[in-house]
Subunit: 212 residues, 2 copies
DNA sequence: TGGAACCATTTTGAATGCAAAAATGATCCG
DNA sequence: CGGATCATTTTTGCATTCAAAATGGTTCCA
């Protein structure tokens, strides 16, 4: 198995899979489930530790990282800067096809909102933000964004969304698409910042912290 | 030897040491020089590959990463966003002691400029930028910044600096310190962006690219 | 009976071993 | 003499092994 594949699979298990933050990472079991030996698994663990998804306790194994309140704050702060930058870069670079793709995702997302289908809504939301980052055509930015997104995914999506916030988020997304279509880099960056700042407040207010 | 120490030492060898971009990484020799076996060294290689400092060629070993023109562009774009964010965050957070420290570094830097001591100038310059990032008090941001800085360090510091650019850079640094002292977040972000954009243009114009 | 001390077991971190792939270079043929 | 082919050596990636550290459980003594 390819090295990168082990890293991806492990990342998936940690961000969307069965190992909750703070839990011990069962080296043995994962080796069995991935059908590899400890060496490549441990290599992947070190990579994810460098990314912040895993904490290595010397001589005491590894655990899925817990987000503290400060972590959440820091991650959102950086995410804000990255998404704003992505928006600014995307405006002059985005293709018509990419714009259409985002407009379509947006329409789907509104549908899911109308149907109050939170999970599908989240999926579309995520795809839109990823599409904007992709349109910025900057692999370094995309890599950092993905790394941050992986770390806050649980916090983002576990936090319950109030009806008011949800409605507001939809409105903001209209603004995002609009700014993109007008290629208004400054405006887009501004909306994205506010959008994320609001989300962050919601997450923080929900008292979200996996442990201190 | 601690795992993180192997990573740091290897990073140092790659960014400031004897292995130039594009060169083969001599696993054997490094094992001997670090007095470790291949296992921990390979773990460190994977970590640095995830950071972008090393490229792993399947079944063909690892090489120090070369920066393409696009890499340089991308790294500077993200660096701009990160430094601007750091500046904005630092303004409300920076302590008087930290301000004094930066003012002192600035004075030293001007001294080195007067003496036309490029190496010492660079060292001060780097310490100032790192101090601003530190003042932002955001570990995630600091980590990303360090990772970017490591990757462009060679490009930055190998590019020769024209007398005009050098003079301008000094001026800009006056503005940076001034904005920090006035806690003018917006102004500081603006100056930092311009400062980096100029540097980037210089690096790109110098035709810098380690290979495509 | 409660708690400390000791030993067995498990787990971790790193070295070594092994099979497969790539690089090297020697030979053979046109 | 030049180029292709095949054997040999080296290197790579992973599994296994080994020593040291931590964990857990039992015993022993106050």
């Amino acid at each position: 198995m390819m090295h990168d594949e082990v890293v991806s699979r492990l990342r998936h298990v940690l961000t969307e899979g069965e190992i909750p933050p703070g839990a011990r990472i069962p080296e043995r079991e994962l080796c069995a489930s991935f059908a590899i030996s400890r060496t490549p698994l441990r290599e992947a663990l070190k990579v994810l530790a460098a990314e912040g998804l895993v904490v290595l306790l010397p001589n005491r194994g590894s655990r899925a990282a817990k987000l503290t309140r400060k972590d959440v704050k820091e991650l959102f702060e950086v995410c804000e800067a990255l998404e704003a930058a992505a928006g600014e870069l995307a405006c002059p670079r985005i293709s018509d096809a990419q714009l259409r793709e985002i407009a379509e995702l947006q329409a789907n997302m509104v549908e899911h909102y109308r149907a109050q289908d939170l999970l599908s809504y989240y999926r579309c939301n995520r795809l839109i933000h990823e599409a904007i980052v992709r349109a910025a055509d900057n692999a370094v930015l995309a890599g950092f964004y993905e790394s941050i997104a992986a770390r806050i995914r649980r916090a983002r999506f576990i936090t319950p969304m109030s009806p008011e916030h949800w409605a507001l988020a939809i409105q903001e997304h209209e603004g995002i698409l609009n700014a993109l279509q007008r290629r208004d880099a400054g405006g887009l960056a501004h909306i994205l910042r506010n959008h994320l700042r609001r989300k962050r407040e919601e997450v923080v207010r929900a008292g979200f912290a996996e442990g201190e």
